[in-house]
Structures are given as structure tokens and as C-alpha cells.
């Protein structure tokens, strides 16, 4: 399965997302922000980093990159899209997901091995987990506080669209401890923690993150 990983100016974890795709058994395809063509990939990852230096607002400029028109189109048609950290911010700015990410309530960047619970194990990116499963995935961000109007939060909860929630202490003030959410069709997922950094116990807190990438490969088979 071909998984495209977009590089924007300032993207940082694109290489790591590619490695995660490879570890999971997929083929990682680099996509350039300036190209409108998605090279026939079956899924897309918007990786972490500081696209456009986080100028204006995180993801606010990347959202208008030429590649994003195709990503939005294909996402609406059902292609799985995963937004990690800055990628999540871009998905919200592009209105593929509701809400917004704001500065951490503690005002500082936080990098830590973060405990999460999987709240939805039916999305294209989390089908390999169990609902309620506790996983540890690195979080590293300065603008990770998820906010949305109360009505939106209620809808997300009511429709089971919260994908992962912070367990233990809330590291950034995200409302309802929301660490990641999904679109109505369960194909677009955005989360602040970095599953691509939890694929090898040698370089991370464990392998809990690999499931995100293996899930989407499995979903391609069944799609």
C-alpha cells in the first residue's frame, strides 16, 4: 500500500512518518507541498513539524499549499488521512476536522512520553487497537491545546469521534482531555501525540504507535 507523506517547508517528522510506514510494511511516498498531484497514493500523512515556521497560526499557511486541494478532495471521497501534531493543526485549519489547537495552558513546549487511552478503535487508523486500550506515545508540542465550542465537543463525544484521550494528567489544557479526533466517516484522523516516535523501543517509549500505521494498511485491504 502506498502512503504519501507531505513535506511542507518546515516539516520535521516527515522522515520519521516514512520510517513508521515502512516498519508497518507499507510503501512510503514523499509528496511535495508545491505539487498538486498525489502520485496515486492510497492514504496520506500530514506529519509533525513547524510548517512555515508556525507563522500566523500553526498550519494556517500550509492549509493553502497546492497539495492540500487534492488532499481535501480525496479525503472527502474517503481516502484515509492522518494528521500528526502540525498535521492535526493543518486538518483543523482546512476544516477537515472541527475545532482548533491553541497554545499549551502551561505556556511552554512539552516533550514527554504521554499515556493515552484509545477511545475509538474503528477508524481507518486505529482499527488495530482495542477500545479502552492504554498506550504510551511521545507528545512534543507547544500549541497542543484542543478547543472547540461546547456544542461541537458534545457532538464529538456523542458520535464517538474522540479517537484518543490523554490519560493521567492533561499536558496542555485540551478540553475534555481530547488528544485526537476523527471525521464523520472515520477516515480522517488528527492527533497531537506522535505515533511515529513509538515504533521501536530503542528510540522511543515502546512500539505502541505502530498500530496507527498497520491499521491503515489493513484498512486498504478491506476497502
Amino acid at each position: 500500500m502506498r502512503v504519501g507523506i507531505v513535506t511542507f517547508p518546515g516539516s520535521l517528522d516527515d522522515r520519521d512518518a516514512a520510517r513508521a510506514v515502512r516498519y508497518a510494511g507499507g510503501q512510503a511516498v514523499p509528496l511535495w507541498h508545491g505539487d498538486e498531484d498525489l502520485s496515486g497514493v492510497d492514504a496520506v500523512v500530514l506529519p509533525g513539524g513547524f510548517s512555515y515556521g508556525d507563522y500566523l497560526r500553526c498550519g494556517a499557511i500550509a492549509r493553502f499549499a497546492p497539495v492540500m486541494a487534492a488532499v481535501v478532495d480525496r479525503a472527502r471521497a474517503g481516502m484515509p488521512v492522518l494528521g500528526i501534531c502540525n498535521g492535526f493543526q493543518i486538518l483543523c485549519e482546512a476544516h477537515l476536522l472541527p475545532g482548533a489547537l491553541m497554545r499549551n495552558d502551561r505556556q511552554t513546549f512539552v516533550c514527554r512520553d504521554q499515556a493515552l487511552t484509545v477511545a475509538n478503535a474503528t477508524t481507518a487508523w486505529t482499527s488495530g487497537y482495542q477500545e479502552g486500550q492504554r498506550i504510551v506515545v511521545p507528545l512534543k508540542s507547544g500549541e497542543g491545546g484542543y478547543v472547540a465550542p461546547e456544542a461541537t465537543l458534545d457532538a464529538l463525544e456523542g458520535e464517538g469521534r474522540v479517537v484518543v484521550r490523554y490519560a493521567g494528567s492533561n499536558p496542555n489544557g485540551s478540553l475534555r482531555d481530547i488528544a485526537g479526533i476523527t471525521s464523520e466517516n472515520g477516515r480522517v484522523v488528527g492527533l497531537m501525540p506522535h505515533p511515529e516516535h513509538a515504533i521501536d523501543a530503542l528510540t522511543g517509549p515502546g512500539t505502541d504507535g505502530l498500530g496507527f500505521f498497520s491499521s491503515v494498511l489493513a484498512s486498504a485491504v478491506s476497502a
Binding site: P98, R103, D105, V147, G173
Partner: protein
């Protein structure tokens, strides 16, 4: 003359930066300040005479790019650049 766009967090949005600034002001003795909200100001240098049409277009730009309507509000008006107020500029 520039077009000024001011972007502020919506009233219901928690503004921890504004809160941090308020705490700092109090520590410095400015105890009469009761609240602080922190936002952004954009100064647009426009290529034409500023008429209602231009202001409308800037407002569109503000809603699309300069502000995130999920969490921010904005106002658009004409005004002078902050720089123009310095008297020792040639």
C-alpha cells in the same frame, strides 16, 4: 493610509497568554488592570484607494486567512501604521 485588521480571541475562548500578561502586570504594580486579552494587529499596505469595496475584500481575507473563525473574531478599519507615528523618520 493602511488597512488595519485586528484579531482577538473570542470571548469564550480561554486566553492563557492574556492571563499570564495580567499576572505580570500585577507583579509590576499595575493592580488597577482587571483583565488582559492578547490578540494580533495586521497593517496592510494596499495598492489602491481604500474604499468600502477594498475593506470588504480585506474582510474576506481576514476571515479566510488572518483569523481562525473557530476561535477568533476580527475587525477591519482604515488607520495609520504604528511606524508612521515615529517623528524622527525621514
Amino acid at each position: 493610509m493602511s488597512v488595519i485588521v485586528e484579531v482577538m480571541p473570542k470571548p469564550e475562548i480561554l486566553d492563557p497568554q492574556g492571563q499570564a500578561v495580567l499576572n505580570a502586570l500585577h507583579r509590576l504594580g499595575f493592580t488597577e488592570v482587571r483583565g488582559v486579552r492578547q490578540g494580533k494587529r495586521f497593517e496592510l499596505d494596499v495598492d489602491a484607494d481604500v474604499d468600502p469595496e477594498v475593506l470588504r475584500r480585506v474582510s474576506d481575507a481576514a476571515a479566510t486567512l488572518l483569523a481562525n473563525p473557530v476561535i477568533e473574531e476580527h475587525v477591519v478599519h482604515t488607520g495609520e501604521s504604528v511606524h508612521a507615528k515615529e517623528t524622527d523618520r525621514a
